[in-house]
Symmetry: C2
Subunit: 684 residues, 2 copies
C-alpha cells in the first residue's frame, strides 16, 4: 500500500484528465490551483481541444504521454471515466483520484457503476480515491501540490486531514486565511470506493511529515479494522475525528449522502474513547486540538494556572476546566510571594492570577515565567483582552518567547487589526486561541492522548469448538444451548433445571424456588406472566404450573417445559450484554439491569476487545457500578466474579460471529454479595 500512497502524496508527475480552459470550470480551477501553489513536479493536462492551458502543454489523449504518470486526477464526464482508467492503468499509473460524481451517492444504479469501476481498478493492480471527491494537497515544500478547486495557498504544517465530505474540505480551505489552520496533507476521499480512512491511517502513521491525523467522517468503512490498528499498537500519532451523523436524523442524512450504513453514535463514542482516539465536537475543536499537538509541548498533567488581565473571560476559561478533567493548580507560597511583587495590589495572586486591565507586556511575561516555574503548575492559560492602554502584540510575543517545556496557551480577544499584524510580525507564529473556552478543550484532548488506555492484554478472538449448538441466523439459542454455552464460558448461571409438567410432581427440589415458562416464542417472560418468584412448596409449584399452562394456551403460545431455579434474594440487578455493530463488530454492555433498563439509562458500552483497564473503567462509569463496590459503609459485591462475567461475555462475542445479541438481565447481586445470572438470552 505504501508505495501507492507515496504516489498520491509525493507524485513526481500528475496527469489531469479533463483539464479545461474555461475559467470557473472544475478542470480549469484545479489546474490553476496546481499552478498557483507552485507544484514542483511534471504536469500533464489532457484536453483534445486545447494546445495549452495556463501555460501548460495539453495532450489530446493519455496514450500520447510518453512519460511515467505517478498520479492521475480524473474529472471527465461519467461516460468517459472507464476509458480513462483503462488507458491510465495500461500505462502503469497506480494512483488515481476520481473527482467525477454520480456514483453510489445517487442510488443503486450509480452504486453498480461504482462497483464496475472499482473492479477495473483493482484488476489492474491500481488504487482509487473517490469517486465524488475534491482532490488532494501536500504542502511539503518539495512537493507543493494543491490539486483541489480552491486556489488557496495552505501554509505548511504537520497536520494531515482526510475529509469524507468535499464540501467540508472546501469550507476549511476557504477559511484558511482566517483560521490559520496549517496542513501537511489534505485528501478528500468522497465515496471511499477503494481508499478509506484505514489506508490513510496506515500511511500517515509512517509519513514523517505528519504528526497529527485528523478526519471528518460520515461513516467508518470497516470500523473493526480501524480499531485493530490501535488494538495491535500500530498507531503512535494522535488521531482526531469529527463524526458527522450523530443523531438519528443526522445518521439518516449521512447515510443518504454517502450510501453507507451508520453505527449509532453511542457506539462511535464508546470505541473512540476506549482506544484513545480523540473525538472533536465541531470543526473548531478539531483544528484547535490539532494546533495544540503541533505547536505546544505535551502537558505533564492536568493542573492548570490561569493568568489574565480580564476577570470575566478568565472565569469562562475556568468554567471549562472541569468538563475537560482539568483543575486549577494550588500555587506555591513561593510563587505567590514572587507574584505579589508584580501584580497590582488590587489584582489577585491566587489562581486565576489577575493583572487587571493595566497589566503590561512585561508583567504578563514575568507572571507567565513564574507560573511555569511552579512545580504545582503543569500548563498555563494566559487570557488577554486588549485594553486601550496595552497593545496586544508585545504581550503575545513576549509570552511566545518564554522557553519552557510546559505549554502556555494564549487566548487573545483583540481589535480585529491584531490578527493581520500577528500574521505579519510574529516571529514564532505560535497558534493563538480566540475563545476563552478553547484552551481547556485542547489541553483536555492532549491529555486524553497522553493518558490513553494501554492496549496490553486485550481479549482477542480464540477459536472455540462447542459441540451441539446450532447458531441459526435470526433465532434465539434454546434453553439447553444457553446452559451449555454458559457453562463453557463460565457464566455464573444460577443452578437451573428443566422439567416437563409431568416430571414436576416427582422432582426433588429445595424450596423456595423460581419457575419460568420455557418455549421458543416465550422471550419476554415477565411480560407474558411466565415468571413466578419465591414459590415455597410443591403445592404452590403445581398450582403455578397449572396457571401458566392455562395462560399460555389462551395466548396460543406453546409452553415446552418449566425452568426451575433456586429463589435468590436480590440486592441489585445488573445487566451484562453484548451486541454486534455493523461496522465496529462485537460490543459489550454493562449497567443497571432489571425490567426498567431502558428507562434507567445506566448502560455503558465498549468494544469487546477489552482489557482489564477497560473493565474497571466501564464498571466505574456505570452508576450501579459505583454502588455495588460498596457505598455508605456496605460491603462490596463479588467484583472479581462480575469482572470475569463481563470478560467472558466479551470473549463469547469475539469468538462467535454468529451471535448478534446476548443479555444477562438481570445479573443478580444477592444479599450476601454473590453473583448469579438468572436469565440469559442469546440471539443469532
Amino acid at each position: 500500500m505504501d508505495s501507492v500512497f507515496q504516489n498520491y502524496f509525493y507524485p513526481k508527475s500528475i496527469c489531469v484528465v479533463g483539464a479545461s480552459s474555461k475559467p470557473q470550470s472544475l478542470g480549469y480551477e484545479l489546474t490553476k490551483s496546481l499552478k498557483q501553489y507552485g507544484y514542483t513536479g511534471e504536469l500533464f493536462l489532457i484536453n483534445p481541444k486545447a494546445d495549452e492551458i495556463l501555460g501548460f502543454k495539453c495532450y489530446p489523449t493519455i496514450e500520447s504521454i510518453k512519460d511515467k504518470i505517478d498520479l492521475a486526477i480524473i474529472m471527465v464526464p461519467k461516460q468517459f471515466v472507464e476509458e480513462s482508467i483503462k488507458q491510465l492503468t495500461s500505462k502503469g499509473t497506480r494512483a488515481i483520484i476520481l473527482i467525477t460524481a454520480g456514483f453510489k451517492e445517487t442510488g443503486k444504479e450509480g452504486g453498480e457503476e461504482e462497483k464496475r469501476i472499482l473492479e477495473l481498478v483493482k484488476t489492474a493492480g491500481a488504487s482509487l480515491v473517490g469517486p465524488n471527491c475534491m482532490g488532494i494537497i501536500n504542502s511539503y515544500p518539495e512537493v507543493k501540490m494543491n490539486a483541489t478547486f480552491v486556489a488557496e495557498e495552505p501554509q505548511n504544517g504537520r497536520m494531515a486531514f482526510c475529509s469524507q465530505s468535499g464540501a467540508i474540505g472546501a469550507a476549511v480551505l476557504n477559511s484558511l486565511r482566517e483560521t490559520d489552520i496549517r496542513f501537511s496533507q489534505f485528501i478528500s476521499v468522497g465515496n471511499k470506493a477503494d481508499v478509506t480512512e484505514n489506508d490513510l491511517l496506515e500511511f500517515w502513521e509512517k509519513d514523517e511529515n505528519v504528526s497529527v491525523i485528523t478526519y471528518y467522517l460520515e461513516s467508518f468503512e470497516a470500523g473493526e479494522k480501524f480499531l485493530k490498528y490501535f488494538i495491535d499498537g500500530k498507531v503512535s500519532k494522535p488521531v482526531i475525528i469529527l463524526k458527522g451523523g450523530r443523531t438519528s436524523s443526522g445518521i439518516k442524512a449521512a447515510s443518504s449522502h454517502t450510501g453507507a450504513l451508520g453505527s449509532s453514535d453511542k457506539v462511535v463514542d464508546a470505541v473512540l474513547k476506549q482506544f484513545g482516539i480523540i473525538r472533536a465536537d465541531d470543526l473548531n475543536d478539531m483544528f484547535i486540538t490539532a494546533k495544540g499537538f503541533e505547536d505546544f509541548p505535551m502537558p505533564e498533567g492536568n493542573r492548570i494556572a490561569v493568568v489574565t488581565n480580564a476577570g470575566g473571560p478568565a472565569i469562562l476559561t475556568v468554567d471549562t476546566l472541569e468538563k475537560n478533567n482539568l483543575v486549577l493548580s494550588e500555587l506555591s507560597d513561593e510563587t505567590k510571594s514572587k507574584l505579589r511583587k508584580i501584580v497590582h495590589p488590587q489584582g489577585s495572586v491566587n489562581n486565576p492570577v489577575d493583572l487587571l486591565p493595566g497589566g503590561t507586556a512585561e508583567q504578563f511575561k514575568q507572571v507567565n515565567e513564574i507560573l511555569v516555574a511552579d512545580k504545582n503548575v503543569e500548563t498555563v492559560i494566559s487570557v488577554f483582552v486588549e485594553p486601550i492602554m496595552v497593545p496586544a502584540l508585545p504581550v503575545i510575543e513576549g509570552i511566545n518567547e518564554i522557553k519552557s517545556d510546559k505549554p502556555i496557551f494564549q487566548v487573545v480577544m483583540p481589535l480585529p487589526e491584531f490578527w493581520e499584524q500577528y500574521r505579519k510580525e510574529s516571529k514564532t507564529k505560535c497558534s493563538l486561541f480566540r475563545r476563552p473556552e478553547d484552551p481547556a478543550v485542547v489541553i483536555g484532548n492532549m491529555l486524553k492522548f497522553k493518558n490513553k488506555p494501554s492496549n496490553k492484554n486485550r481479549l482477542q478472538l480464540k477459536e472455540e469448538d462447542i459441540g451441539g449448538i446450532r447458531f441459526e441466523k435470526g433465532k434465539f439459542l434454546s434453553q439447553e444451548e444457553v446452559i451449555k454455552i454458559s457453562k463453557h464460558y463460565k457464566l455464573p448461571i444460577v443452578e437451573t433445571q428443566l422439567f416437563k409438567y409431568d416430571e414436576l410432581k416427582t422432582a426433588g427440589l429445595e424450596y423456595p424456588i423460581v419457575v419460568k415458562a420455557v418455549g421458543e416464542k416465550i422471550i419476554h417472560k415477565s411480560e407474558l406472566k411466565g415468571v413466578v418468584l419465591n414459590i415455597k412448596d410443591k403445592n404452590e409449584l403445581i398450582k403455578v404450573a397449572d396457571e401458566m399452562i392455562k395462560n399460555f394456551k389462551q395466548k396460543n403460545i406453546t409452553l415446552d417445559s418449566f425452568l426451575i431455579q433456586p429463589y435468590i434474594q436480590t440486592k441489585f440487578e445488573l445487566l451484562v450484554g453484548g451486541f454486534r455493530d455493523p461496522s465496529f463488530g462485537p460490543m459489550i454492555m454493562f449497567g443497571t439491569g432489571g425490567k426498567y433498563v431502558e428507562y434507567v439509562e445506566d448502560t455503558v458500552i465498549r468494544s469487546a476487545y477489552l482489557n482489564d483497564f477497560n473493565v474497571d473503567e466501564i464498571i466505574n462509569k456505570a452508576k450501579i457500578g459505583k454502588i455495588i463496590q460498596g457505598v455508605r459503609g456496605e460491603d462490596p459485591a463479588d467484583m472479581i466474579k462480575i469482572k470475569n462475567t463481563i470478560k467472558s461475555v466479551a470473549q463469547m462475542m469475539l469468538n462467535h460471529k454468529e451471535i448478534t445479541e446476548c443479555d444477562l438481565n438481570p445479573l443478580v447481586v444477592t444479599d450476601d454479595n454473590n453473583i448469579f445470572a438468572v436469565d440469559i438470552r442469546i440471539k443469532c
Copy 2:
C-alpha cells in the same frame, strides 16, 4: 427608577469627572469614544489642569458647571470619589457611573468603602452604576453615546447587553467589526453596589428601542426578585443570559472576582428553564440568539427544512437539530415535485435538499421559496459553502430578498473576502451565521421563548400559622413537630406512633411493622443501624428494641424513643425535597429516592414557585417519574397524590422561610400504587 434610567441611557448632558489629556489613560480614551461616536448632548469635562481636551472645554470643578448634569461618569482616583459624589448630588445629578475600581472586589476593606459610598448616594436620592465598571453605550441615533474606553462605533440595533464583567464588555466591543453584533444599549455594571440586573430588566422591558435583553452575569444579586418579574408576568421580551461561574472552580473564581455568593449551576439552570429565560453556553450562542430575535420572524414550530450545496456541513446542521428539540420536516409531494424541476438529478429533493456544488443563486432562491411555501416547513436553514464557480453574494442576497413570514437562516462558509463585501454591498444586512451548528441553537432558543411555560396559577407565599413548632436555626424539627407540620400540609405521612421503651410491651400493634430509633443525634438512621423492617410479632419487636438500645449506648448516642410504622411493601422509592438557595430562595426536588440517592443522580430541581405545568414537567423529566406513570403494561402510581405532595412541600418551603432543607426520602410507592412518606426530615 424609570426616570433615573432615562438619565443613564438618554442623557441630555454628561459630566466626565476625571477627563484626561493623556492618550491611553482611561479619562482620555472615554472622552475620545464620546467624541468619535458623536454624542448628541452636552459634554462637561472636569479637569483642573487643562483648558480643553479633544476640543471640549474643561471645568476645574463640578461646582463650576452651571448647567444641569443628567449623567456623571466618575473616573478619579479612589480618594476623590466621595467628594465628587457629594458635589454631583448637591447639584441634583441622580445618575452616576463610578468607573474607579478598588472596592468590594479587593476584599473586606474595599467592601466597607463601597458601602459608605452607596450610603452617600442613596441618602442623596441618587443612583449608582458600578463601581469597577467600564461604562455605557446607547447607539440610538438621537443619543449616540459611547462612554466606554473602546472607541469602536457600534451599529444601532435592538439588543440591550448588560455585562457584570468589564472585560467581557471590552472583548465584545473589540470584536464588533468581525462579529457584526449590533447594540441598542450596553452597560457594564461592575460590582453592582446599587444598580443590578433587576433594575435593567425593569427598564429595558419598557424601553421601546430594546427588543432583546442579554446579560453576562457572574452572580444574581437578588435572584428571587429577578424571578418575581417573570412570575408576576412583567417581562414580555426575550431574555438571554450567559452565566460565568458554572463549575465549582468557576463559581469560586467568580465569587473572588465579584465578592458575591454563588448559586449552584444546577439551580441557575433549573430556574432559568422554569421561567422561560434563555441560557446561552458561550458568547457566540448569546449573540447569535439575539440576532435571531432581532432579524428574523418567530418560527411557527420546530419543523425544519435544510437546503444546501454542501452535504457535509448540512449533516453537521442536521446533527444539531435534535439537541435543540427540532426535527426535519417531511416535505410534501407537491414540494418534491416542484424541487425536482430545479435540483440536479444527482442532488436530493429530500430534506436536506442538496443542490450539489454547482447550485446557482437562482436555484438557491427558488428552492428556498418552494420550501417556505410548504405547510410542513416552519423554518428553513440554507447552508452555502462557496465553491469556485458560484460567488457567494448573489446567493445570499437572493435569499435575503425572499418575503415570507417564515424565517430563513443562512450559514455561509465563504472565502474571507466575502464578509467585507457583504457589509458594504448587502441591502438587507440580514444576520448570517458562520458555523453549520449555529442556526439550530438560534431556532431552539427562539422556540424556548415562544413556548415558554405559562406563569398562571403559580404557588405563592401564604401566611400560615402552625402553633407549637419551634423553627430553630441549624436544628432539625423534632419527630412530633414533623408529624404536626406534615399533617398541616397534608403530606402523605405513614401512620406513625412514638413509644418509650417501657410502653412497647403493652402497645397494641398490627404487624408487620417497622421500628426506627429516635433521638436528636440520630439523623442518618440506616447507617446507624437505627431501622429494622418487617418485624412480625411482639417478641421480635422487643428483641430488636433491646439490640438498638445496646447499640446506641455503645455509640454514646441518646436514644429517646421508638418510632413505629406499619411495614409497607415498597415498589418504588421516590424523593421529594426542598432547600433554600442563597439567591433564588425556596427550591424543590423530585426524583429517585432511597439510600443511593446521590449515586443514582436522578433528581430534578425547580423553584418552589410552581404551577401544574412545572409539576408535570419535573415528573416527566425524572427517570423514575416516567416509570411510575406505568411502563411495560403496569398500572400507574397514584399520580395525583404525588403531585399534591410535591406542591405541598413547595408551599411549605414558600411559607416558612426558616426551613432551609426538607426531605421526604423515601416517598414510597407501594405494590398497590399507594403513596406514603415513611421518613420526613425538616431542617431550619
